[in-house]
Amino acid sequence: MKVMIIDYGMSNLGSIRRAVEECGGEAEVTGDARDLKKAAKIILPGVGSYADGMNNLRKYGWVEAICEETLVNKVPLLGICLGMQLLSERGCEGGETIGLGLIKGDVKKLSVKNPGERLPHVGWNEIHAAAPCVLLNGIKDGSDFYFVHSYYFDAANEADVAAYTPYCGRFPSILARENIFATQFHPEKSSPDGLILLKNFLNI
């Protein structure tokens, strides 16, 4: 069973591959969109800006491949950080940009609401489940995960939100819609709960 990690020039690929292997998965980093056909699971990682991310996905032919595998063949996909945000319909970082549109909503900049809050949102923060989600099996509500971001996914349908995190008000930190999953935090860097979450994804 192969976990395909999409390489579109925007990620901490090494960290994610290591973490998948640590969870017992067979990971392959690929820069070739045709490889997605072989995927039992897909991970869309990403650090960087929304506009650059989408441009790269388009440039290397990932958009059609991702849509076909997730929407037609129903292969489970996990978007991480920017990889979560790119699943949206629109982003504004680096100019308004159309996203993959796999989950309804827009990506917006966090705005400080409480004294002491700084941006980017960097560090360990808790997640609170909003709906039952297979990713959260064995993970206590209120557990801490590692975040590092300035933008958030403003989901149009509350039903797609599996967990929220309290910062700058609150924002969706886990999305789940059928076979499509996403985390704003970095499970690969959130040992040990992050590795449990990754294992849950691999076991779907």
């Binding site: 990620s11 901490n12 960087g48 980017p120 960097v122 560090g123 040990p192």
Partner: protein, 257 residues
């Protein structure tokens, strides 16, 4: 709520973990991989690893070594030392690091900060400042504290934020390695001037020093090395102390009682 981080710093010199006093008198401590393993097993919040001789020896970061570090590290890993261009950053991130720490290069080519931020996001750039108290305030030094830049620390921090830094690591050169407490005024002067998170560094000798850096200095995170290398103190106990004093820290499994 966002938790306050406790971050061990590991300094490397010729592939050895070292620690000095005031950026001098380097003492060999041991090898790095066991240190990373122990820290990761104890669920530290993050790790910062700096190659302190790379810049002065005009050397590239050792990507193979970074690859080895990240194999052992399932918490965020920041790599610093000798980074001068975006290609190096790309290779470092590819090798498994999550953030890069830029110090000397920022003085010579401030646009590097902007370039990294726009390519990989601001969250990727930790701008590091080494500062010393002078007759005319806190001044920045580069090249492992060897060269004075004439820049005022808080003003430079502000400039770094504008350039695209995602965090500031502020180190007091005089307090470094002394375990006599952080330079609280310096940390405060920086955290008041910027809106990005500030990591306090240099001088932690006991858990209360960390508490003061947070409460009085306004730090979002505390970095420390000597206290963890040379005493019985651990990051976990440090967090326990902070938690007992009203600071929210990460619920490390071991702490749940």
């Amino acid at each position: 709520m966002l938790k306050t981080r406790v971050i061990p710093t590991i300094l490397l010199r010729n592939e050895c973990v070292v620690k000095g006093v005031g950026f001098d008198s380097w003492r060999r401590i041991g090898t790095i991989l066991p240190a990373i393993k122990v820290y990761t097993a104890r669920q530290v919040d993050e790790l910062i690893i700096m190659d302190i001789t790379a810049t002065n020896e005009n050397r590239d970061p050792d990507y193979e070594e970074i690859d080895n570090f990240s194999r052992e590290c399932f918490v965020p890993l920041t790599i610093g030392g000798g980074i001068k261009n975006i290609e190096q950053v790309k290779k470092i991130l590819r090798a498994g690091a999550d953030k890069v720490c830029i110090n000397s290069a920022a003085y010579d080519a401030p646009e590097l900060i902007t370039e990294i931020a726009s390519t990989f996001g601001v969250q990727c750039v930790v701008a590091s400042i080494d500062a010393k108290k002078t007759g005319s305030g806190y001044k920045c030094f580069k090249n492992c504290a060897k060269t004075e830049t004439g820049l005022e620390a808080a003003e430079w921090a502000q400039r770094l934020e504008k350039l695209g830094a995602g965090e500031i690591l502020i180190t007091s050169i005089e307090r470094d390695g002394t375990m006599s407490g952080y330079e609280y005024e310096l940390i405060k002067s920086v955290s008041e001037k910027v809106n990005i998170p500030v990591i306090a560094s240099g001088g932690a000798g006991c858990y209360n020093d960390m508490l003061k850096a947070i409460n009085e200095g306004g730090a979002s995170a505390v970095a420390a090395a000597s206290i963890f290398h040379f005493t019985q103190s651990t990051p976990l106990e440090a967090k326990k102390h902070l938690s007992d004093n009203g600071i929210r820290v990460r619920n490390a499994g071991i702490m749940l009682r």
